[in-house]
């Protein structure tokens, strides 16, 4: 589904990603952990095509297509979805209007007819229910005045509405209370199937109790310095990052 090779990327002329290799197959869940500032959000921005991030080397293929050739919206329509670490507010536009536009853009791209207002409404109601999303949030302006947790929940709600095949979750667990974390994770799990894939960025193993990863990678200073199964997350939770940094230093010195 996603194939990243030797990816290097700059922000404002400074190299942040320094050679990333990552293969994600349909149906897989990968988790990326790593200290603050290591480049996790940068990777998410590069994948989604944010123009503030410049790819200087490497390739990314998404379902066999060259992702780096695509506009941001094309990547989205191809099925790439980012649940933002900091969701953006848009005053004056209701969540419903925004979603309707987005859903119909996706459908248009797939040569599907637009949803009728009734179909759209039914879909909204059904998906909101899965997440226990307060229905008043749907008629409110996009993220404006939402609590931190409501914003995160709204991101997952959008995921359920847009039905992407590849989902990036950037610290979706931060800011969620314990119950919300469970509900949101359930939403993700309901959506998960054999054909879609997830890349989950998180600092806490807790989330991975709910959304079980097939692989865990540690990103440090712009490189994946360790990969493993879900037990790696437990180990990190227990021991922190220092031991891997040590290992990394040693291999570098050899």
């Amino acid at each position: 589904m996603l194939s990243i090779k030797n990816l290097h990327a700059n922000v404002e002329g400074k190299e942040i990603l320094k050679g990333i290799d990552l293969e994600i197959k349909p149906g897989e869940v990968h988790a990326i952990m790593g200290p603050n500032g290591s480049g996790k959000s940068t990777l998410a921005n590069v994948l989604t095509g944010n123009k503030n991030y410049e790819v200087t080397d490497g390739t990314i293929f998404f379902d066999g297509k060259n992702l780096l050739d695509m506009e941001i919206e094309t990547r989205a329509r191809e099925g790439m979805f980012l649940a933002f670490q900091y969701p953006i507010e848009i005053a004056g536009i209701s969540n419903a209007t925004f979603l309707k536009t987005a859903v119909n853009e996706m459908r248009k791209y797939r040569n599907m007819p637009e949803l009728t207002p009734k179909e759209f409404l039914d879909k909204i109601k059904e998906r909101a229910k899965i997440l226990g999303l307060d229905e008043t949030l749907i008629s409110r302006y996009v993220n404006v005045g939402f609590s931190g947790g409501e914003k995160k929940r709204n991101e997952i709600f959008q995921m359920l509405m847009l039905e992407p095949k590849f989902v990036l979750l950037d610290e979706t667990d931060s800011g969620l209370d314990i119950d919300a974390l469970r509900i949101v994770s359930e939403g993700v799990n309901i959506y998960k199937n054999a054909t879609n894939s997830f890349l989950v960025i998180t600092h806490y193993q807790r989330l991975l109790n709910y959304i079980k990863p097939d692989f865990v990678h540690v990103l440090y200073k712009g490189k994946i310095i360790k990969s493993g199964g879900k037990e790696l997350a437990l180990e990190l939770e227990e021991k922190g990052y220092d031991w891997i940094k040590e290992e990394e230093l040693q291999t570098e010195n050899k």
Binding site: E73, A76, R77, I90, A91, A102, Q158
Partner: protein, 494 residues
């Protein structure tokens, strides 16, 4: 704001002692007509003979001719206002033709002859074919041109005693009303362009809503017979008697091209006790090309007088056109508890310049005003908000709320805010909020990431920004205004 509210003095007093100096140059000037099959146009230039000619062509009563002449004599002593934040080459007022009879025949034979750019815009606005023809001056089918719509419309209004006609017609049918109200809100002494308009105005709309009547439909210039020919110097007068209500729509979203570069309209509204007037404008004059050439200069004086207690006047405007806009729809809140509102979206792109805003003059007690202004600048344009809130000595308990937001697209445009607040009564409450922001890159990215293209994303953000104003527009107008905004800002980001 040197043209503010001296107008409250009766104009007669001001003008009577004006000495008339006959313009020597005018005697050499020979006016005449360039007559062809299609239209009658006066030769260029302005003097008393031209004004007499205009007045007699329209078969106006003597007092009207006199009024025009007084205005002209006053105008000659005035100077063009220099304070607006707009720049344009000096206008030669003797190089303009001041009279053109309505065209009898369409200029073009089919839509094939119309500028394709214009047609493309019509398409985007979803304007029906027949209407496109009408707007671009192409001959229309008899069926569509039939006055049947307008006639049924008129009958309904007649039943209620509502008068809705052209000013010329009103001068013939209801001279007493014109005599009583014309120039009573915007006297010709008010400002340079108001004086010019009074002297030479061609035509415009007249609305009279009698006591206790709620006008059952939105009145729009569109339905007024003979409305296709929008005059260069339009004059509109709306009177709402006690306990009446009217909503009036001006303009249309289709881009209007006009060979006349200078437009100086005057609009006067009068609301008596408990009356409400809602005046909505969508203005889309030709703004000039991308280099800023051509384009209309739009210098408008719009003012409403809330004369009665509990009367209310709301101005809502969406301004996307014109090369230069100079416009301050204002409210004079004389009646106790009267309410004035101003909701405005002004968009400038390329080389457009707009200096627009409002004046809220609180005279009566417990008067209330609200100002919501949204300015959007793109390209190399310049967008200024200029607003005056004056609370007079006797305006006990007056309140004003002003919100003034600017959005910039790109870094070559400008947004300016000039708020003037004058408070002479201690009990008044005046609140002012202002903000300037760049269109958010992060917002565009967020929408892009949800599969929405940049053009649509910008439209969404801009429409969101203008929401508070759009919701004041009648439903259909609001939808059109949104589309219009999209077209005006096309290609300005990304």
């Amino acid at each position: 704001m040197n043209d503010s509210v001296e107008e409250l003095k009766p104009q007669e007093e001001l003008s009577e002692d004006m000495k008339v100096l006959d313009d020597l140059t005018s005697s050499e000037y020979k006016w005449g007509f360039v007559t062809d099959i299609e239209s009658e146009t006066a030769a260029k230039g302005l003097n008393e003979d031209v004004i007499r000619m205009i007045s007699s062509k329209k078969n106006e009563p003597e007092w009207m001719t006199e009024w025009r002449l007084k205005a002209f004599r006053y105008w000659k002593k005035m100077e063009e206002p220099k304070w607006p934040n707009v720049h344009y080459p000096k206008i030669d007022f003797q190089d303009i033709s001041y009279y053109s009879a309505p065209k009898k025949k369409p200029v073009l034979n089919s839509l094939d002859e119309v500028d394709p750019e214009l047609l493309r815009t019509f398409e985007k606005l979803g304007i029906p074919l027949e209407e496109q023809k009408l707007l671009s001056g192409v001959a229309v089918d008899a069926v569509f041109d039939s006055v049947s719509v307008a006639t049924t419309f008129k009958e309904t209004l007649n039943e209620k005693g509502i008068i809705f006609c052209s000013i010329s017609e009103a001068l013939k049918e209801h001279p007493e009303l014109i005599k009583k109200y014309l120039g009573s809100v915007v006297p010709y002494t008010d400002n340079f362009y108001a004086a010019l308009n009074a002297a030479v105005f061609s035509d415009g709309s007249f609305v009279f809503i009698p006591k206790g009547v709620r006008c059952p439909m939105e009145l729009s210039t569109y339905f007024r017979i003979n409305s296709q020919e929008t005059g260069q110097f339009e004059r509109t007068l709306i009177i709402a008697e006690d306990d009446s209500y009217v909503s009036y729509l001006e303009g249309c979203t289709a881009p209007i091209r006009d060979t006349n570069q200078l437009h100086a309209a005057v609009v006067e509204l009068i609301a008596l006790e408990n009356a409400e007037i809602k005046y909505s404008t969508v203005q889309n004059w030709y703004p000039g090309d991308k280099e800023g050439k051509g384009g209309i200069y739009n210098f408008v004086t719009k003012r409403g007088a809330c004369r009665g207690r509990h009367s209310k006047i709301s101005w809502t405007q969406v301004e996307t056109g014109s090369a230069i806009t100079w416009k301050y729809p204002s409210c004079i809140l004389q009646g106790d508890y009267s309410v004035g509102e101003f909701y405005s979206v002004a968009v400038t792109n390329n080389y457009q310049q707009a200096d627009t805003g409002t004046k809220m003059i609180h005279i009566g007690r417990n008067t209330k005003s609200t100002i919501v202004s949204k300015g959007i600048s793109a390209g190399k344009s310049n967008n200024s908000y200029r607003g005056l809130v004056r609370i007079g000595k006797n305006a006990e308990g007056a309140r004003n709320y002003t919100q003034c937001d600017s959005m910039l697209m790109g870094d070559r445009c400008g947004a300016h805010t000039f708020p003037y607040i004058e408070v002479e009564n201690e009990s008044a409450k005046v609140e002012h909020e202002a903000s300037t922001s760049k269109i958010g890159e992060d917002q565009i990215f967020y929408l892009n990431q949800r599969g929405i293209g940049t053009e649509d994303a910008v439209n969404m953000i801009v429409n969101g920004f203008c929401k508070e104003v759009f919701k004041e527009l009648p439903m259909e107008f609001a939808v059109e205004a949104q589309k219009l905004l999209a077209i005006s800002l096309e290609g300005s980001v990304g």
